[in-house]
Symmetry: C2
Subunit: 156 residues, 2 copies
DNA sequence: TTGTGTGCAAAAGCTTTGCATGTTG
DNA sequence: CAACATGCAAAGCTTTTGCACACAA
């Protein structure tokens, strides 16, 4: 844990951004909040609130679910984390700083999530916003299917 | 309630489809199941399970939530109803027979839902499925924003 | 010091499940 | 008549909330 890591620079950066965000909004800089952010940026891929909570508990870091949820919301508000709703419950989160816009392909059999980019989405947003007189600020495009040969649960 | 309605033909059709679906799968044809389907096809737009339940109760039709949920699942399975997850909870449903594929624009302020069609979605599905070796069977594209001047809650 | 954040547990909200009863085939 | 569907209420699961205590400013 004491060896410098490649992602340390990114972590320093997002910690700084979060710190400023808290300052600007007169929120307090608590160790829990920074610990949660750091934990998120040391993880890869998508995760849910419970997994994050468990993971911090396993490292003997004392947090409550309430704080995890609270902090996740703060992080979503300052664009350091993105929240997704792939299934009906169990929201998924992912770190988002420095990531370009992308959408998701979800395997309905094994739950695997792939990412992809397509500029046509932006075109559709612009066109439909204009056409329907909507101010489109966000979107979510999920493709559902299965990952074919690679899917461990497809051999049913 | 005894006057023939314009939508009666559609209702007869979907009742027939549902009936066949139940037969084919050896599910029983209960009055509750048909009553729920009929109620759905007499309604317009999107609705949630609870609203449907309440609506049937108000007409003094005796159903339970369990049956409503159970039947909704059956209807989703035979493509007579489509299920959407716009927010984090409260799944929304809509009748889908004879409807062409469409996606949704959701006002985050007042909850209004508009529909739109764009052929580029299909292109994206095809391309990404091939590219990422995914068998894409479904998708959901939601655009979030607000309905501008028309939105009653935007004047905040 | 003072008010905001935290931990804990209980509550909330939507959906599912277990069990006894009723009904379809 | 035998299996399946229903109604009811209780349980499940994720997320939120209330309250007392702790701590950042």
């Amino acid at each position: 844990m004491s060896v410098p890591r490649a992602e340390d620079a990114v972590i320093q950066e997002v910690l700084g951004i979060f710190s400023k965000h808290l300052e600007n909004n007169n929120f307090r800089k608590t160790p829990e909040r920074f610990a949660i952010l750091e934990e998120i940026y040391r993880r890869d891929d998508h995760f849910d609130a419970e997994a994050l909570y468990i993971h911090m508990k396993n490292q003997n870091y004392r947090v409550s679910r309430a704080t995890v949820y609270n902090t996740l919301e703060l992080l979503v508000n300052c664009d350091l984390v993105k929240k997704h709703q792939f299934g009906k419950n169990l929201a998924q989160y992912e770190k988002s700083h420095g990531y370009k816009q992308h959408d998701h392909l979800i395997c309905v059999d094994c739950g695997k999530v792939l990412e992809f980019c397509d500029p046509r989405i932006q075109q559709i947003k612009n066109m439909m916003g204009e056409l329907l007189k909507f101010k489109v600020v966000d979107h979510s495009l999920n493709l559902y299917g299965n990952c074919d040969g690679a899917c461990p649960k497809t051999q049913k």
